[in-house]
């Protein structure tokens, strides 16, 4: 799984963030934190960074808020047109390609990284990373400034063939750890689970997130 550095632009709404997506047999789980910061100030503490591109295709936004939101909205429009042209639901790879084309063409001007994940009939659940204009399918992908703190955790804890519930627990744990350590991530955790039958959006409030060894030591 390639390590990806994260450049940050700190003007009017940066989404430096923690985002991740993981594939299971029959679908995907996407997760994100909810903090949008402008310098040292948090301008939105409840932003849902999991943006819907199509019925069963979502993308996770990170980097510059303006760039990421604009890319997601443009691709949403392009996918609408494309799915009407082909007369059926688009493939996840098509959505990822549209995102990648914009990221690559404007790579000098843009500062955003979108992880595209979803379910389609042909290949089931898929996760694609589009950083800097590449397109690669991965079993799972993490992104954003908070991802640096959890590479060790995800590399150690990931196992092939996890079930949907195990994947959700994996995503929530990863987000909780990253939000604890990264100043640019925080707020609540948003979770989206996509499979053949349904698309489920969930919010997990701060105090419901799993805690790890956080307690201060008890010295006499």
């Amino acid at each position: 799984h390639c390590r990806m550095g994260q450049e940050e632009r700190t003007s009017g709404g940066g989404l430096s963030t923690t985002i991740l997506a993981i594939e299971f047999d029959g679908g995907v789980v996407l997760g994100s934190d909810s903090r949008v910061s402008a310098g040292a100030s948090v301008v939105n503490r409840v932003m849902n960074k999991l943006s819907q591109l199509h019925d069963k295709i979502y993308c996770a936004l990170s980097g510059s808020a303006a760039d990421a939101q604009t890319i997601a909205e443009v691709v949403n429009y392009q996918l609408d047109v494309h799915s009407m042209e082909i007369g059926e639901d688009p493939q996840v790879r098509s959505a990822a390609t549209l995102v990648r084309n914009i990221s690559y063409k404007y790579k000098e001007e843009l500062s955003a990284h979108l992880i595209v994940a979803g379910w389609d009939r042909r290949k089931g659940g898929q996760v694609y990373a589009t950083l800097n204009g590449l397109l690669t399918r991965q079993p799972f992908a993490v992104g954003g400034s908070g991802s640096s703190y959890v590479y060790g955790f995800v590399d150690a804890e990931y196992r092939k063939g996890m079930s949907k519930e195990e994947c959700q627990k994996f995503v929530v744990s990863t987000l909780s750890l990253a939000m604890n350590r990264d100043g640019s991530s925080g707020g609540v955790a948003y979770l989206v689970t996509i499979d053949e039958h349904c698309t489920e959006e969930k919010v997990i409030l701060g105090n419901d997130l799993p805690t790890f060894y956080d307690q201060p030591p008890k010295y006499p």
């Binding site: 709404g13 100030s41 301008v43 939101q69 604009t70």
Partner: protein, 249 residues
């Protein structure tokens, strides 16, 4: 750097406190009224709540010219759009138009906006940043006084407030910005938008009334005694008489 001569005047900014809140039945927008040019107050009573459409208003922080021109442009385009669709314009439409224009200019248009209004889908409130990102929230603050105002909101906001309670909360949030931020000052303007009416309250609260002088340094006529008076008329003759017509075409 230009060491000789005088430096260029800085752009007039509205270092500002603007905010908005969604209450039961509509939105309340609030703004202070100070416009600054560097460290000098250029306008003590400027209007920062701009008209977009009969059901949508927008507060603007940042470069005064940018907020003024941007809101006027989108207001005009939205009116044409509404005539084309035959429907009352939606807040989401105004939001899209504003964010797409600001993104196109990559942040060079320094307009940070709080857009609020009511449409067929209910009341909506958006905050729009100069680079083109937007947030849809129940309460937002922008400008240099945004932290002070947000502190008030985070303490006292509740969903589905009554109109009077919402107005008082917005008034208090702007007051926090006015008194704790150097870039904000003067009076508090409010705009209450609901299904049936729009109340543009300017000013809603004169938080900084100019004081009345208690004393006067004028001397009455006769304080100084007059000893002599000489009147000498000046004999002037008309040398040339020209007529300059005004251009009234």
């Amino acid at each position: 750097a230009n060491k000789v001569g005088c430096s260029l005047p800085s752009a007039r900014k509205t270092g500002t406190t603007i905010c908005g809140i969604v209450f039961k039945g509509g939105v309340v927008l609030g703004a202070d009224t100070r416009a600054t040019e560097g460290m000098v107050v250029a306008d003590k009573n400027c209007s920062k709540i701009h008209y977009i459409s009969p059901n949508i208003y927008c507060c603007g922080a940042g470069t005064a010219a940018d907020t003024e021109m941007t809101t006027q442009l989108i207001s005009s385009n939205l009116e044409l759009h509404a005539l084309s669709t035959g429907r009352l314009p939606r807040v989401a439409t105004a939001n899209r138009m504003l964010k797409q224009m600001l993104f196109r200019y990559q942040g060079y248009i320094g307009a940070a906006l709080v857009l609020g209004g009511i449409d067929c889908n209910g009341p909506h409130l958006y905050s729009i940043y100069p680079h083109g990102s937007t947030d849809k929230l129940p309460y937002v603050t922008m400008g240099s006084g945004s932290l002070a105002a947000m502190a008030v909101f985070e303490d006292r906001y509740k969903p589905d407030m009554e109109e009077e309670e919402a107005k008082q909360l917005v008034r208090d949030a702007i007051a926090a910005g006015i008194f704790n931020d150097l870039g904000s000052g003067s009076n508090i303007d409010l705009c209450v938008i609901s299904k049936s009416k729009v109340d543009y309250l300017r000013p809603h609260d004169e938080a900084n009334k100019k004081g009345v002088r208690t004393g006067d340094y004028k001397y009455k006529r006769g304080t100084t005694g007059v000893l002599t008076k000489v009147v000498a008329p000046l004999d002037l003759e008309v040398v040339e008489e020209t007529i300059q017509t005004m251009d009234t075409s």
